[in-house]
Amino acid sequence: MKPDPQNEAVSRRNFLKISAIWAGGAWIVGYPVARASNHVTNSAPGRTQGQGTEYQVLTTDEAAIMDALADCIIPPGDYAGGREAGVTLFIDRQLGRYLHSDKAMYKTCLAALNKGSQADYEKVFTRLGEEAQIRYLTDIEAGGYNNRTGNWGDYIPSSFFSTMRDHCMMGYYGHPKHGGNREWVSYQMLGLPVEQVPMSP
């Protein structure tokens, strides 16, 4: 019998209901709300509003900058991009937990990065088009921006980019219990079943 994609989506949804995320010192059962998305919506209809989507470390403005970054690092397409996959929520949760030592860096660098595009592009980063955003980030990654201009404080723009890029990868490909990889979207993209059954070669 061929597997019914609709049934698969339902069983995946049931599975996700019993997964849990650590938030603010308590285990919250459930999963964060996913925004509308071509792929994920089609495969998991009838989603209910979940819990735990409020940011705990990032402000709304910072989260918006992070959302824009996450979509540059992992752009939307056939499968959700970084923003929709919950990369920002992952980073927010981890800045309050395992990655707490990076919190001050994010606070400074997100703002600095957003404003830093004004000199060359006359707009803040979040208002740039996709192509300009990518060009700007490519420059930052290559060390094209000096922290003596702008409000980067002691942080080096290229180092921030490198760390933030890695965190986006963790958020997109890691276990959803940490806040990202919403509905295991990256596993869907790679064609990896979430639930493994006993097999032999």
Binding site: C72, G174, M189, M199, P201
Partner: protein, 551 residues
């Protein structure tokens, strides 16, 4: 609180310590087995790649924690920095009951005969302290066998013409290959190599009351969901506890080896979970805390008798730190070769472990364990985009078309690669932390290039569409294969213990972990560490039964 005196203390419950605790308690000695961590459980950790033991960017579920532990890493320019357990430069192993044997890949290699006689086989290597072991393969062979049968290994040496001789076959049949390994097996034969199924400390059939492997992808770096991977935590340690003679004392960080006015060891000082400093006395102390933590403990146990640290009269404790210079090649194939049958690594060749013209030693080569999705983001041909659409497309297109061939190149030990104790950085309990410095010799990098070229040959024979090499850097190796820091030897001036792991000038202090390795083979070292655990125990028990209580 006063602890009752026991016959033996074992510090560390990993591959060596778990075996020693079982052997001594079965022989009737009262034993306390110290473990700084606690029990690791699949039900708690599951398939969380971000806290697993293979890539732990968030933290190390299998321990230790970033709050209480740190080390100092020194680069080749002498720059020092504090590093935490979930950074690669920390050279983490694990800190839980069973240590690395809970989450390891479980390859069960015997070293080859030449691996015990490297100096006489290859001669002097410039810059290296290369030496023969004081024991031979023949000495250890019965203890390899004991490890294979008591802990449980699936394998079949009949397909490996380079395997060292053995008296008894493996207790379980070898694993069959998945789609990728079958393809690579055929390619190896085409290239003229001699492929075989990797011996594994994993059940290919029910063994000793536990079930067989179910082939999940999250194997290396993870606990087993069905207990089919054999570590000390589910074999010898439970046996030790069942004797009634062994107490496993978890959450207990040993910080000092105590000695009396005569220089005899009297026991250890440790901190319990509540951070109370306590003492445990014993007739014998066996150190099996890893090739980083064993020398650190010895160096932190200076006294009037041992002003430079216990066993360190000739400045050899902590020297010769080595791991493996991992090398190999990666490949993309036109067709999908991934079938989701874990753990991945199963086909190997030993053709290039020795007898390579102009090369010292060598390595076995094997296909890689399945890379989990986050780890795969770091697997790219040179020049590939690491973010953006190019990243995502690569990930999606190639995750199931990737194979890697890798080998642990045997490193030439050198005196300057070492574990010291820091003069200014201390851990949660106020003890000086390990300071790790050193480098690989040019000889190691030369061997790594040679072995990587063989991996390329193998992948070319498999018809790979794109191949790129991974050559190791020149930094010091440690990490999960760390070894060599309390070398065994016959000359007390150039080694730390005698051939039985007994510290030269301290009769009742023993070492039973990878620290003893004179050289580390071109193979994963865990079965050798287990065999040494049996070997050291055999000596202690024989002496004990002859009436020598080492007091």
């Amino acid at each position: 609180m006063t602890n009752q005196h026991v016959n033996a203390i074992v510090v560390g419950s990993g591959a060596g310590g778990g075996v020693v605790a079982k052997e001594l308690s079965e022989a009737g000695l009262s034993v306390v087995l110290f473990e700084r961590g606690e029990w690791a459980r699949y039900s708690e950790h599951g398939d969380d790649e971000l806290t697993a033991q293979r890539s732990f960017p968030l933290h190390c579920y299998f321990g230790p924690d970033n709050e209480r532990y740190r080390r100092v890493a020194v680069d080749r320019q002498g720059n020092e920095r504090i590093v935490y357990p979930n950074e690669w430069a920390y050279h983490n192993n694990a800190a839980c009951v069973g240590s690395g044997t809970v989450s390891y890949g479980a390859m069960a290699w015997r070293f080859m005969e030449e691996d015990f006689t490297m100096k006489s086989t290859y001669g002097h290597i410039e810059g290296s302290t290369l030496e023969d072991w004081p024991v031979t393969y023949a000495d250890l062979e019965p203890f390899y066998e004991k490890a294979e049968w008591e802990i449980g290994v699936a394998g079949d040496d009949s397909q490996n013409p380079f395997a060292p001789w053995r008296n008894k076959p493996h207790p379980m049949p070898a694993f069959k290959h998945n789609t990728e390994a079958r393809m690579l097996e055929a390619a190896a034969k085409k290239a003229g190599f001699h492929p075989f199924s990797i011996p594994m400390l994993r059940n290919s059939e029910p063994y000793h009351g536990r079930g067989e492997c179910i082939h999940v992808r999250n194997c290396v770096g993870f606990a087993c969901p069905v207990g089919a991977k054999n570590g000390t935590q589910n074999t010898v340690i439970p046996t030790a506890i069942r004797t009634g003679n062994c107490e496993l004392r978890i959450n207990s960080q040993v910080v000092e080896i105590m000695t009396n006015d005569q220089g005899k060891v009297t026991g250890v000082a440790y901190f319990d979970k509540q951070d109370r400093k306590l003492q445990q006395t014993a007739d014998i102390v066996v150190l099996a805390a890893s090739a980083t933590e064993t020398p650190r403990l010895m160096l932190n146990s200076a006294s009037r008798h041992y002003p430079e640290g216990i066993g360190n009269r000739h400045d050899w404790v902590g020297r010769n730190l080595q791991g493996h210079a991992y090398t190999g090649a990666n490949a993309l194939f036109d067709e999908v070769i991934y079938d989701d049958v874990g753990p991945g690594a199963s086909v190997a060749i030993s053709d290039f472990a020795h007898n390579n013209p102009g090369i010292t030693g060598g390595a076995m080569l094997a296909n890689e364990f399945i890379q989990m999705p986050y780890a795969f983001t770091g697997t790219r041909p040179p020049g590939s985009p690491h973010w953006g659409r190019g990243h995502k497309d690569f990930q999606q297109e190639n995750y199931k078309r990737y194979a890697g061939i890798r080998g642990p190149v045997q490193e030439m030990p050198n005196f300057e690669s070492r574990v010291e104790v820091s003069q200014d950085v201390r851990d949660h309990w106020g003890m000086p932390v390990a300071r790790i410095s050193g480098f690989k010799l040019d000889e190691d990098i030369k061997t790594a290039h040679f072995i990587a070229d063989k991996a390329v040959e193998w992948l070319e024979a498999a018809g790979a569409a794109k191949i790129w090499k991974s050559i190791p850097g020149t930094g010091v190796s440690g990490s999960q294969h760390q070894s060599g820091t309390c070398r065994m030897g016959n000359d007390p001036k150039t080694s730390v213990t005698n051939k039985f792991g007994q510290v030269h000038d301290v009769e009742n202090l023993f070492v039973a972990d990878g620290s003893l390795h004179v050289t580390n083979g071109g193979f994963n070292p865990v079965l050798t560490i287990m065999a040494l655990g049996y070997w050291v125990s055999d000596y202690i028990v024989n002496e004990w039964q002859k009436g020598n209580s080492f007091r």
